[in-house]
Symmetry: C2
Subunit: 355 residues, 2 copies
């Protein structure tokens, strides 16, 4: 694995195309990655990993220790989407997707929400929307700590335990402050529910107050998660950086995607900022079996995830150019002649803008 | 306490006006209640309970056993809003509001979301929005089961435990099915996150499947909570009845309020359907200290909560007339001359429509 964030001359990429539209969008994401790096001398090598519903049905495996060890050797992972209705709920989520996030210590789940010029929002008056959600990725109710007793009887009790540590909260909060400090507005909003989830909530609140001392030029405010959904509807331009826990981040980023044009455009990075393991980049959307294999999926979310990947590996120029290509493409969608393009056509046109 | 849902000839009401705008909106809610029952022979008697921030500062008390015992004697409770920034977060929420919901076994938190004709939604194309959220009220992460160790040190661990029982889930799911069966569309959507919160989620899912057998004419579907926030943004008219847990219900009902005109209009009932204790009706909004005492608050959410109260006590005609008065008032707001009305003026005009 390449260490450090300086620009490396090669990218050794693990590719988990996954299920459904995952394979279609990843193909275009890789084409755009190549185009973005053409002429830079940076060499991309890819290794495909067969993970997801197909593999599960064939072998019963979700992610073996050997898979995990092999994945660890790469510079980064590009994931399309995993999942299929034929697999029982939770199997691939817990056994593959979340296992990767936890095992590779992806404690930052980075999800930008930007309403690109020309993109229609379902909000009547969205204003300028450009914020980023820093969602904690390795704690909260996602830890898998819970269970059920007397399962299936009238006396069943099922619990889910949200686990939050000073160690885990502090590192993601510090990352979020650094992110905010690097942005023009320098504003950080903590979202939680500390009036009800008092223990976890107060840990988050105290941590934000404490870390704020290291970033005195960042302003902060606080919203309960319920109120945050209101402001995402009525005044999303108020947000700059949001830091929140794993579950609230899951909820808010889907809402954020909805108001900025849909999950067809929403990118995400599962980031290990300490670089002790490869980070993983994936569109927020799922495998969408209903439209799989038809070339209907919009690869833009994957392409924007590739931009996050490039950023993470220090190829910031290439990252900016990928974003600019997407921006130009989206602007043309709104002003140019109406065209229904296939997944491959969108990918090809994005790549063409980069050559 | 009056038993049964047949129309009683008197209502013995406990009133918790509370803090901030709570007192202002409750005054109007009571005026509308009187107007709605004028001529019906139903006599309303009210008893004020001094609960909330004021009482807490004066005595250190949130809700004493004596308060609770006294409240139990009433037919219903009307609550304005409690809370003030001067009270530490969680004290009044856990010590008063949630204590009431839990002690009085308000296992149904009923929150209708309707976009009244003429009301402007922040959504560009909301369609016809008319659904009701049946939020569980006595379980989930709201149980107060959690804690922290090594608090305030770098080794702090804070947990929050979501507790879900077959008993608790089944009764609220059955209520939601009955609600759906009584509506024209007869559709019930379960919202949870069973791909991650597998234990609680599967209990909810199995319960919905099982209870569906008692309501064969009700159709059902399932959404993960993150996807639900998307559909609330892009296609809210798809919803008829939503049943969900305490925390997801908290989040979704604020978003639902936002898309249907704001929390100034959002009503709620904390209902004990078994009538073993009085139910409590309250607007979804809080005490809004920033606008308190200025007559700026919209009492409509409280008035619609009064309609839910009337419904619960069997005065369905009066309930419908209150809703009709609100509907007419809201329609006039959109077509009549622009007027800024005070809290009292809105209340007065609503009452006048009922006389
Ligand atoms: C598939 C699921 C486990 C996942 C999550 O809840 O994190 C998804 O919703 C996401 O947001 O990436
Ligand atoms: C004030 C708070 C405890 C409460 C809740 O979370 O239930 C409120 O947000 C609500 O929705 O009634």
């Amino acid at each position: 694995m390449t260490q450090g964030s300086e620009q490396a001359q090669s990218i050794d990429l693990a590719v988990v195309a996954g299920d459904g539209i995952g394979t279609e969008v990843v193909e275009q994401g890789l084409a755009v990655l190549d185009a973005a790096l053409a002429g830079t001398g940076v060499k991309v090598t890819t290794t495909d990993y067969d993970l997801g519903a197909r593999r599960y049905h064939a072998t019963g495996e979700t992610l073996t220790d050997a898979d995990l060890a092999a994945l660890r050797g790469h510079d980064a992972i590009l994931l399309g989407a995993v999942g299929d209705p034929s697999v029982p709920s939770g199997v691939l989520e817990r056994g593959l997707l979340l296992r990767l996030r936890f095992a590779l210590d992806h404690y930052v789940n980075l999800r930008p929400a930007r309403l690109f010029p020309g993109v229609r929002s379902p909000l009547a008056d969205p204003g300028e929307v450009d914020f980023v959600v820093v969602r904690e990725g390795t704690e909260g109710p996602y830890v898998g700590n819970g269970g059920s007793v007397r399962t299936g009887t009238p006396h069943e009790i099922a619990t889910e335990v949200s686990v939050n540590t000073a160690y885990g909260v502090e590192r993601v909060v510090r990352y979020a402050f650094a992110k905010a400090a690097a942005r023009p507005r320098k504003h950080l909003t903590l979202v939680h529910k500390h009036n009800v989830l008092v223990h976890a909530g107060h840990l988050w609140r105290r941590t934000v107050e404490a870390v704020n001392a290291e970033f005195p030029d960042v302003t902060t405010d606080y919203l309960h998660v319920d109120a945050a959904t209101i402001f995402l509807t009525t005044d999303p331009s108020r947000f700059d950086v949001i830091v929140t826990d794993n579950l609230f981040g899951d909820i808010l980023t889907d809402q954020a995607a909805a108001i900025t044009g849909g999950i067809g455009l929403a990118a995400s990075g599962n980031v290990n900022p300490d670089r002790t393991a490869p980070s993983m980049f994936e569109p927020v959307h799922g495998s969408a079996p209903d439209i799989a294999g038809q070339g209907k999926a919009d690869p833009t979310a994957t392409v924007l995830s590739v931009a996050l990947l490039l950023d993470h590996l220090g190829h910031t120029d290439a990252a900016r150019r990928v974003e600019a290509a997407v921006e130009a493409d989206l602007a043309e969608r709104s002003t140019g002649p109406a065209r229904v393009r296939s997944t491959a056509e969108i990918g090809r046109e994005l790549a063409a803008r980069l050559h």
